[in-house]
Subunit: 241 residues, 2 copies
DNA sequence: CCGACTATATTGTCCGACATCTTCGTTGAC
DNA sequence: GTCAACGAAGATGTCGGACAATATAGTCGG
């Protein structure tokens, strides 16, 4: 019974036309993050910190106790991590941090070359629009600021931010979204585990990319970005030899 | 209390090294699909069928009644759909089928041009390996078989399969994964709604792509693929003019 | 007609329970 | 002693209910 009769989603009632777009309207309450969100980020951060290593199994009950949340909440976080490709799920066997084999790393880098190249090209083309130049310059200089002190969690953040900004001012939302789904986190961590030399930050490359973007030289920006990724591929190949 | 002490995922016990890879071992039970999986697919299929239209809200309780599952299950499905970008979630406001604006469609097509181009290039390079030629030929001919009878759900499946095969024989797993995350479903449905002419299947394009791939001509395959996507972008532009 | 307040619908999160399934140690036959 | 079948324990899949938090709609007073 109950007045809960609703025709089960049959009526195409249009709603949520613009869920996020800022009408600068009243933000009734600040919606910081949901619990699954927190766990999601914690685990990614734990990846960099070494709290979690590829191959490690994630048992629901354990996570429940660790963060004091319910299984349902943990489950949501795990599903999102799986959707991102960071953990693998197999029915009735549970979750584990994904292990990349060398072929997968090469695949990721190959795709990354194309996507980062595109992002750099678009960014160079649109560097003059709006506040793009300021935004880019800021994240660029912040990244370069770590030249003297690598190996910190802040550097990781700065690098990620640099790439996010690159994609953002490029203006292609879909590219931005897809780039966030490429397994850069896993790749970095597992490359580092593979060989120490791979962890070296290539600031010269960053410089070349940044310069070309700021110069508005789309072709050069794309080439610099692609060369950067290709350099990592080469190092990977050498390590294997 | 309770012997449930487990150090909360601190021990890097390696497990699930190869969750899927076929050791051709005993498959104790056939794991068809989980309930969230079913709902996930149903909704995507419903998109094509018109059961669900962009902008339509998806209320959890409705879906639980429609499929006779619990809210938790529905929730999982919605989260996955959100992760794929098919629905948008906003806190306490619920889920709705994502509405693409024209800019987003253009973004998606721009990324698609690059990715499909890459897939076609790789596929042409590897057409000779293993059973690639057979696999590709089969899906190719199946697609062409619909030349005389467009506008069926089967055609949708055939086209998707063609692209999946293209990506698969290309051999880059990451590209394959990312391609599956591009919003082709939404794009097709909303393009169709925008203008009837956009629904026309471009079999000539498919032919050119297929021929080039089968000929092992990587350059030509990439160009044909990119041109196909670009043609759709042009039509989109014309409709807007 | 407009703005503040209240009611309701809906989502976010938790808890507990049970079925299903995997894993692994044990038993027993060969 | 080896190996397969059996069975117990651990973990996940799914369910149902419950309550809090919050957005939206409707109501009331001005």
């Amino acid at each position: 019974m109950s007045s809960r009769q609703r025709k089960a989603a049959a009526a195409p009632d249009r709603g949520l036309e613009s869920p996020l777009p800022g009408k600068a309207a009243r933000q009734t309450t600040v919606h910081p993050v949901s619990s699954p969100d927190l766990i999601f980020r914690e685990i990614i951060q734990g990846l960099y910190k070494g709290t979690y290593v590829p191959g490690q199994r994630l048992v629901e009950v354990d996570l429940t106790q660790k963060w004091g949340v319910s299984r349902g909440t943990v489950r949501e976080a795990l599903n999102r991590l799986a959707a991102e490709g960071i953990v693998v799920l197999s029915r009735h066997r549970g979750a584990a941090i994904r292990v990349l084999d060398v072929a997968e790393m090469q695949d990721i880098l190959a795709v990354l070359e194309m996507m980062i190249g595109m992002a750099a090209r678009l960014a160079a083309q649109r560097i003059g629009l709006g506040a793009n130049r300021e935004r880019f310059t800021e994240s660029f200089e912040m990244l370069l600021g770590f030249r003297s002190r690598p190996d910190s969690m802040d550097l990781v953040r700065a690098r990620n931010r640099f790439y996010r900004t690159l994609a953002a001012i490029g203006g292609n939302k879909e590219l931005e979204l897809l780039l966030s789904k490429v397994q850069v986190h896993l790749l970095r961590v597992q490359l580092r585990a593979l060989h120490e030399s791979l962890v070296v930050e290539r600031f010269d490359d960053y410089n070349r990319i940044g310069d070309a973007v700021l110069a508005g030289d789309a072709r050069r920006a794309e080439l610099a970005a692609r060369r950067h990724v290709r350099a990592m591929m080469d190092i990977l190949d050498k390590v294997l030899a």
